[in-house]
């Protein structure tokens, strides 16, 4: 249904509220930035000519302008989520489950839709065979539009009143299953911590450590914690309660290790305490040793290992039947083989390591990104489905305007 695709294409990029700087969609690996392309380019111009903006070996761009640095910090924050995906067993396993839930249902839906479209076209061709040629084409097109209008009307009737998403109305069972998969990440444990707290809290610390690496980033962040909601603060607050200001050095390795277990929020307190007893400055080395010789933590469930470990296990039956999540195989293999002399663990615990990464996926999408065709549309389409960006009321209005312009 080419017309529906055209309508949806305009709605692929999610509209973020003003206070949201960026959003990372894990399956597609795309980062949606709440800035325009022009603003991104302006930020580049501001920072690029300044030789002081490249900070030694870490090569992080640190623009002098505080407001622009927020954008760079947001990019670094979302990039860290990408590293968590390609580096940790928990995140990779979660995203892989989402993929295996999504794809069979989408493929089945698309096949069924394609079959219905063909059957409908044949019906229209038969019904219109007596019509004059000049009128026939227009009649068939209008009948197709009417069919989509009817579909939208049915979806509106069945949609939840507070949910404008086109896809949740179209595939309610798929989204119920996706919500089920996501629920454990948001559930808080006895210590009041959830996996989301760990993911977000560590990403905040990382964004400051990288963006302001040539400044006293700890003091800057200390001053800015009040800018962040509880989800971004809980993991750090927990670490601070255990080890005070050393929390800045403990949180990244502790979260990186915890995300190798089945229940990271239950593993995290143990690693925070474990890394607090090592001499200051040796947290990363101690964490590396713990990563190489993983402990059995009964309270945290099974040890999953790295993302690549999980990927390897998925090569086996019965996972092969479902189609594996392979988007990031290339970069994960290179990290496994130490192609750039860094491991996935380095990416998570050492902000400077990202500069040695030989390749990044093409993953920045600005607000005004031109959605064209080909590969980018497929990726953006997947992100859009998972972020529920296409709106049923907007699609209905656009279709109505196409049929009956003002």
């Amino acid at each position: 249904m080419a017309e529906v695709s055209e309508l949806l294409k305009r709605q692929l990029i999610p509209r973020l509220p003003p206070e949201t700087l960026a959003k990372f969609e894990e399956v597609s690996g795309l980062m949606f930035l709440n800035v325009t392309m022009e603003e991104m380019l302006a930020a580049g111009k501001l920072s690029a000519p300044d030789p002081g903006s490249v900070s030694g070996e870490q090569r992080s761009i640190a623009p002098k302008n505080e407001d622009w640095s927020r954008i760079f910090a947001a990019i670094n924050h979302e990039t860290y989520h990408y590293f968590q995906l390609i580096g940790t067993g928990y995140q990779f396993r979660h995203v892989s489950k989402v993929w295996r839930t999504l794809m069979p249902r989408l493929i089945a839906h698309r096949w069924a839709q394609g079959f219905r479209d063909r059957a409908n076209l044949i019906r229209l061709l038969v019904q219109s065979r007596m019509l004059p040629g000049w009128y026939r084409k227009a009649w068939i097109a209008s009948e197709k539009y009417r069919r989509i209008q009817n579909l939208y009307a049915r979806l509106r009737a069945s949609a939840k009143p507070d949910d404008p998403s086109l896809f949740t109305a179209l595939l309610p069972r798929l989204y119920a299953r996706l919500d089920e998969l996501d629920a454990p990440r948001r559930t808080r444990n006895a210590q009041g911590l959830s996996v989301m707290d760990l993911l977000e809290g560590s990403a905040v610390v990382y964004q400051y450590a990288l963006t302001y690496s040539n400044q006293d980033w700890r003091s800057l962040l200390e001053n800015d914690w009040s800018d962040f909601d509880d989800t971004y603060r809980r993991a750090f607050d927990f670490a601070r309660a255990v080890c005070d200001r050393r929390a800045y050095d403990v949180i990244l390795p502790a979260v990186a290790l915890a995300l190798r277990y089945e229940r990271p929020a239950d593993a995290y307190p143990w690693f925070v305490r474990r890394l607090t007893v090592v001499p200051p400055g040796e947290e990363v080395a101690a964490a590396r040793a713990l990563a190489e010789n993983p402990s059995t933590l009964y309270e945290a469930g099974r040890h999953l290992g790295t993302a690549w470990d999980v990927r390897q296990r998925e090569r086996r039956f019965p996972y092969l039947l479902c189609g594996n999540f392979r988007f990031h195989d290339n970069i994960m293999k290179k990290l496994r083989d130490r192609t750039w002399e860094i491991s996935e663990f380095d990416l998570l615990v050492d902000p400077g390591a990202s500069a040695r990464l030989g390749e990044y996926p093409r993953n920045f999408i600005t607000r005004d990104f031109p959605v064209g065709s080909g590969d980018s549309v497929a990726h953006i389409g997947i992100a859009s489905i998972l972020l529920r960006s296409a709106s049923l009321p907007l699609a209905t209005r656009e279709l109505d305007h196409m049929i009956q312009p003002d």
Binding site: Q11, P14, R15, L16, P17, P18, E19, T20, L21, A22, K23, F24, E25, E26, F32, V35, E39, A42, D67, W68, R70, I71, A74, H77, E78, H81, D162, D163, P164, S165, L178, D182, M196, L199, E200, A203, Q207, S226, D227, F228, D229, Y232, A383, L386, L387, R388, S389, A390, S391, L392, P393, L394, R397, D406
Partner: protein
């Protein structure tokens, strides 16, 4: 480009400067700022985004984006026009100030939820809030008296546009509605 502010006072001071740059007189600026402040308080206490998946980076700080500048220009224009209209109608200044506060509250609330209103839409919305409910002809007369001649057809189209405004959540919301007597009134979102 976005600017962030650690406190509400710093945010309001920046808005005040933006209004100042538009030439907004101080007696109009104060009620506008008060309207913006009250709308912003409400917006911050609401859950502004549906939990739609993905990993967000949300800031708790106060933010002004370049995209917000048109609303300050529009607010300045509409506040000046509405104040002149109300004062010439014999309304006491405290009541005029209250009307301007309500108008700014309504406009900022809609804008921040993603309603990208044109300057004319803000003017019409503002006049309806301050002087409404109004019939189209009456509204056209009031706009003309304040120095803005808007053809009736344009005005009708603008009002129709206000009944279906898309916002960030993907919903279409009505900022105005017409009753059976063809009288228009504003709706708060």
């Amino acid at each position: 480009m976005l600017r962030t502010y650690k406190t509400k006072d710093a945010f309001l001071s920046a808005v005040s400067s933006a209004l100042d740059a538009q030439g907004t007189p101080p007696d109009l600026r104060t009620p506008i700022l008060s309207g913006l402040a009250s709308a912003d308080d409400d917006l911050r206490s609401e859950n502004r985004e549906l939990d739609s998946g993905g990993l967000n980076l949300k800031l708790g700080a106060w933010i002004i984006r370049d995209d917000d500048l048109p609303i300050f220009t529009a607010l300045n224009t509409v506040a000046t026009a509405v104040a002149a209209s109300l004062v010439s109608g014999g309304l006491a200044w405290p009541l005029v100030a209250t009307a301007l506060t309500g108008l700014a509250d309504l406009c900022w609330r809609a804008w921040r939820k993603g309603a990208r209103l044109s300057s004319l839409q803000v003017t019409v919305y503002g006049f309806l809030k301050a002087r409404g409910p109004l019939a189209v002809e009456e509204l056209a007369r009031l706009l003309e008296a304040s120095g803005q001649q808007v053809p009736l057809a344009t005005l009708r189209a603008t009002l129709r546009g206000l009944t279906q405004i898309d916002i960030n959540t993907g919903n279409l919301v009505a900022l105005a509605k017409e009753d059976k007597d063809h009288v228009w009134q504003v709706l708060r979102i």
